[in-house]
Symmetry: C2
Subunit: 186 residues, 2 copies
DNA sequence: TCGAGTGATGTCATTCAGTGACATCACTCA
DNA sequence: TGAGTGATGTCACTGAATGACATCACTCGA
């Protein structure tokens, strides 16, 4: 018999999601999460930097994929087209995760501390987009503006997808949002 | 003689800025800030919700002014024009505050926790813009997209202003940033 | 097969953020 | 002049987060 049950991090993630959804983020203690996962609070902090981070594991992976798509866009693509490619590439990440995304997003939206953390993840994405665009030869100021705008589109589209009663495809929603941006600034 | 020195909140703000700049946010305790301001830690928390908020007093005022400008834009103005008016209206708020803004921004940029807080302030601004646009009759989805885009412009322009070695006027920089957005999405 | 690591976890003590309850006391005003 | 009022202090407590050290199943080479 193994000394410890495997995948403590996974159990902690699930326990945290369940408790945050059940009784709210603020009224859940790390000790309770750890208990439910069968470990101690000290172990929680060995897997996650803080009480918020447990909901954001995997965001680096998403960011990595989106950045790759920006870099992989055709050379002829302008800055905004490259960013659009990055945004669209996020679609596959959410396949079959709509319900999970909805529950997770409900918890985050209800908790200022978690919203803060989500924003800094978006900022990290914007910085990564900026960097990728510069590598494509885009001027620094233009790169950051295009990146910020692209992230704004991603956020709005994601919100629309989560809220969509028709369960429309996320990629379609992203395309529509990008089109809205074009007509807005026309 | 008054029982207490007046303007405890002001002294706390200054003490916090000084200490955060001197030795960094994380290595400054609330007790130290309170000490320097001549009050107790308990009093600190009566004036500011938490250790981060002390750097963001006044942001509601800025938001209020920007929203007013959105609402005051000519009826003929489109969503993006109205948002642009809001962004430009922030200019006067920063008159004669460039050096203060630079020091403050340096502290914030160096501290993830403070960056998180700054982002949620920007989100609040975006929500307020969205609301204002809806009051102007803009469709909800378009309103939020225009608002997010406007906030992106504000952030980029503010960063440019703080970093500008020429000390250019903030309003000019904002106009230029708005122009960049137009050509980007053309 | 045995013994020296290794690594994930537990235990314990501590610092610090943040909050609730209650006391204090200069100042105000009827 | 005495009953509030309000900003502050004091105290006790919860809970997040971290460092130091112990534990022990498992691995791997001699």
């Amino acid at each position: 018999m193994a000394r410890w049950e495997p995948d403590a991090a996974g159990r902690l993630r699930e326990a945290a999601m369940a408790l945050y959804a059940e009784r709210g983020y603020e009224r859940t203690t790390v000790a309770e999460i750890a208990d439910r996962a069968g470990v101690t609070a000290r172990t929680f902090f060995r897997h996650f930097a803080d009480k918020r981070e447990v909901l954001f594991a995997g965001s680096e992976e998403l960011e990595r994929r989106m950045v790759e798509a920006v870099l992989a866009a055709p050379e002829s693509a302008g800055p905004m087209d490259a960013v659009a490619a990055g945004v669209l590439a996020s679609g596959e990440f959410f396949v079959d995760r709509r319900e999970h995304s909805r529950r997770r997003q409900a918890v985050i939206t209800a908790t200022p501390e978690l919203r803060e953390r989500e924003f800094i993840k978006m900022a990290s994405l914007a910085a990564a987009f900026t960097d990728a665009l510069r590598k494509r030869g885009v001027a620094p100021e233009i790169a950051s503006l295009a990146a910020e705008t692209g992230v704004a589109v991603f956020r709005v589209a994601f919100e629309r997808w989560v809220a969509d009663p028709q369960d429309a495809d996320i990629t379609d929603i992203m395309r529509a949002t990008l089109a809205d941006l074009s007509s807005l600034t026309a």
